[in-house]
């Protein structure tokens, strides 16, 4: 199978996948907890983008029904709804994470993984 061609037709998917991997790589490779959180954020946003890409339709319009129009192609509304939820979940998670970061910093005076490890043991 011609994977390259298949991927070319799915440009958005490939790019969002790349963003997911970049975010996860950031989480795994960075020592700073804030950086890890940034990586997490990038990954979540990328997943949201992937969902949104799914809904795209050639010639599609914003899914708001105007009176008196017929045979209009709309972008799929369902992924939009789901992703509204996902965005809110994302910011909620971030909020809790910040609260934890502040507590960690208040206790250990650092947010670097290596230093924290030394101070907890």
């Amino acid at each position: 199978m011609d994977i390259a061609a298949a991927l070319a037709g799915r440009f958005e998917y490939v790019m969002t996948s790349a963003l997911i991997v970049v975010g996860l790589h950031g989480m795994l490779s960075k020592q700073n907890l804030v950086k890890q959180l940034i990586g997490l954020n990038i990954m979540q946003t990328a997943i949201i983008l992937l969902f949104i890409s799914m809904s795209v339709q050639t010639g599609g319009t914003v899914p708001i029904i105007e009176k008196g129009t017929a045979n209009v192609v709309y972008m799929s509304p369902l992924p939009h709804v789901l992703m509204l939820t996902a965005i809110v979940v994302m910011v909620a998670t971030a909020g809790v994470a910040f609260a934890l970061l502040i507590r960690i910093h208040a206790r250990y005076g650092s947010l670097e993984e290596g230093e924290l490890l030394g101070r907890t043991r």
């Binding site: 899914p63 369902l78 509204l84 909020g95």
Partner: protein, 95 residues
């Protein structure tokens, strides 16, 4: 970063590429999400709810339970921050 992390990352990239190539292509009017429940929403949202914004209609009516959960998520986050950092109790002067 330790070798297992690289391995996991490599596996994930491979998996994603492998999977994404097999997803129904973008902008395809016959893809399952177009032929699934979505059709019902587009056709009936205005009649059912008198709300032209389909997203709002789904969000606050068809899938309103999700949205209730989502509001609860926000509230949970607020409560969590309060629980972890809360220093604004009323009547604090007494303590």
């Amino acid at each position: 970063m330790r070798p297992p992390a690289y391995l996991a990352l490599g596996l994930l990239s491979g998996l994603l590429l492998y999977a994404v190539a097999a997803l129904p292509p973008l902008r395809n009017p016959d893809s399952p999400i177009r032929t699934g429940v979505e059709r019902y929403f587009v056709e009936n949202a205005v009649e059912d709810t008198a709300t032209p914004n389909i997203v709002s209609a789904i969000l606050a009516d068809y899938r309103s339970f999700d949205t209730f959960g989502e509001t609860t998520v926000v509230f949970t986050a607020g409560l969590a921050c309060y629980l972890l950092l809360g220093r604004r109790e009323e009547g604090e002067s007494g303590k």
